[in-house]
Symmetry: C2
Subunit: 373 residues, 2 copies
């Protein structure tokens, strides 16, 4: 790797690059291949940007900002209509071929061994033979997603859905039509495209789409510029906001306070924008209140019954080595987790993972023992 050449391509001085090494930019030897990773956003370089040995850069996936009120946000943000795609609820990966091997990078720029196995399994190597520079941006979803396990998608394990295509060394995405065409050509799943709408009618159309997705337990939409010139924005269903809260309040003391707050505020704006009738509004209030209290109640009751508070997820690996590597990956991420022995299953090996939720565990224990807040 030539730091000078990399710095030049990134648009920063070699001296600045040198100073960032070991601080903002971390190097990693495991899992292969070797890489440099931008831990934080600097000088216009997205966090999660990765540089591989032959000076190949995979830029971090850009943050998509959120509309709090659809109608004014669409009017302010777009000019000639919008494309609406499903925003699936899993984890964002960038899949690229490096030195002949396919790897899946997490949002933060780590190679995730489990996501990599799934990517190698589901993405035809042909695509990289034909397009060695391509970067496939997509969502890993399903009940065997250990980061965000969700039952609502048509898979029993974890599937990759393409939502954007980029190239090594390029910051920009190639746009929705190119993405879906590529997925079709190479037999890949891609996120659902709901269609193109004019600026005027879009908010009303999206309201219907969001309500429908919400009823199915799905997350929401990403709204894109058909000309692929403006940044996309996202918008989510009430059911998804509430399900996030339900999950977070199960581990109430281990989540950031802004996680809770931002979701409540989204509900407030959505209720106003959709000018709900009183019974719908009542239902929304109940859904919101329940999402917080019912899971927290279960946690406290479990602890009173003597159970430790753990977060249980499961992965389905084809190769047992992947489970071992994933364990090491989590350890390096600073996650404390216990892996159960693998069980043979159709499609590979199931491994249950119990993640310790220390703060909630200790706080709950302390309160039920009579300690003060």
């Amino acid at each position: 790797m030539s730091l000078g050449a990399v710095a030049e391509r990134l648009g920063i001085s070699a001296e600045r690059m040198e100073r960032m090494l070991g601080r903002v930019v971390r190097s990693s030897d495991w899992p292969a291949p070797r890489l440099l990773r931008f831990d934080k956003a600097v000088s216009g370089i997205e966090a999660g940007t990765v540089v591989f040995d032959r000076d190949e850069i995979v830029y971090g996936y850009p943050k998509i900002r959120r509309a709090m009120m659809l109608e004014p946000a669409i009017r302010r943000h777009f000019s000639d209509g919008v494309l609406v795609e499903e925003k699936m609820n899993g984890h964002n990966v960038r899949v690229a071929n490096v030195g002949g091997e396919t790897v899946a990078l997490t949002r933060g720029g780590f190679i995730c061994p489990y996501s990599t196995e799934v990517a190698r399994d589901q993405i035809s190597p042909e695509i990289f033979a034909d397009h060695p520079e391509i970067v496939l941006c997509g969502e890993m979803v399903g009940p065997k997603n250990p980061y965000v396990p969700k039952e609502v998608y048509p898979t029993e394990s974890m599937d990759f859905y393409l939502f954007d295509v980029s190239r090594k060394g390029a910051r920009e995405m190639e746009g929705s039509p190119a993405t879906h065409a590529l997925a079709e050509e190479y037999g890949m799943r891609s996120v659902r495209l709901f269609g193109e709408f004019g600026i005027e009618g879009a908010a009303a159309e999206i309201e219907e789409i969001i309500k429908d997705l919400g009823a199915q337990g799905r997350e929401g939409v990403v709204i894109k510029d058909p000309a692929n010139l403006l940044s996309p924005i996202k918008y989510t269903s009430s059911e998804s906001n509430c399900r996030d809260l339900e999950f977070a309040f199960r581990y109430y003391n281990d989540y950031g306070l802004d996680f809770f707050f931002s979701r409540v505020v989204r509900e407030g704006f959505q209720a106003v924008e959709w000018s709900e009738a009183e019974d719908e509004f009542q239902e929304r209030c109940l859904r919101l209140g329940r999402s917080m209290l019912s899971s927290m109640r279960e946690t406290v009751e479990a602890k009173m019954a003597g159970e430790p508070i753990v977060q249980e997820v499961e992965i389905l690996v084809r190769d047992l080595q992947t489970a071992k590597d994933f364990e090491e990956h989590l350890r390096r991420m600073g996650v404390r987790a216990a892996f159960d022995p693998p069980r043979v299953s159709p499609g590979g090996h199931l491994v249950k993972i119990k993640r310790l939720v220390m703060s909630t565990n200790d706080k709950t224990e302390s309160v039920i023992e009579g300690h003060l807040w």
Copy 2:
């Protein structure tokens, strides 16, 4: 004032006291009398502690910790039964006589001109003639309380309720029996004493008291050691938690996130401890959800209708100078507020105060104009 003598009485070195001046310890010349104020807790000295000119110290009112679950907290915390008093919802003041004048100190150690007028009006000067060293700790409550306006108490303006008695230079309180005896002797209001309960039955008794207080829109209780040796603890009603949330979500972007979070968590523990039936639990969830969304909805709707988001309170002053002084007091606290012209009213002059809630105002405006979060 002799810094050396004051430091000695506070139990710190003169050199340390010297170093704290202008940083942790602030001096104030307005309103009279002159004082030093501890802005933060240091070396075992409560924040809000005040030292007057003749080296008289009024210690800060100690923070009362909160029980999240009554039964285990009472069992762990107390030994020979408990006294239960009402915790009223207003602002905590310490009233003392300094150089012949009665002054009311806020929790933070500021002389509040408005609270001082009310204290001079409602507290017989005799008590200070008989006990020049006495410090009367109490709650200022009522609809004309500009900090915490509440309609639920039997007053149309702002009343002082005694809940503890201390002395200048003393850190300890004199206990509940002495407090109520003093209130009776000098014809002062004091907070309601519900009675004394054994450790075993206390949680159940307090549950009933709290439910009853909640139904009346009142806040909760302070649980004290009958022997006045152990620190008191507090516990509040669900209705009070939710009313706090309702108020805070009206100004959702101007409140600390822990304000929201702590109140939701209290609801979770209370629901478990009182092992509610499903319909009661449902009601609690709805109450919680509504408290957040309904006031936020009103704020957004008001802003969409073009109204600025302000927080309106009103004071009732006997002397117009008090209103002018209170305006200066708020200005010194860093509060931006506009005072309407006073209107004559039975009992004095009513002055409406409009406090700007900048962050919520700007954030709401920005969202309804289509800016992203």
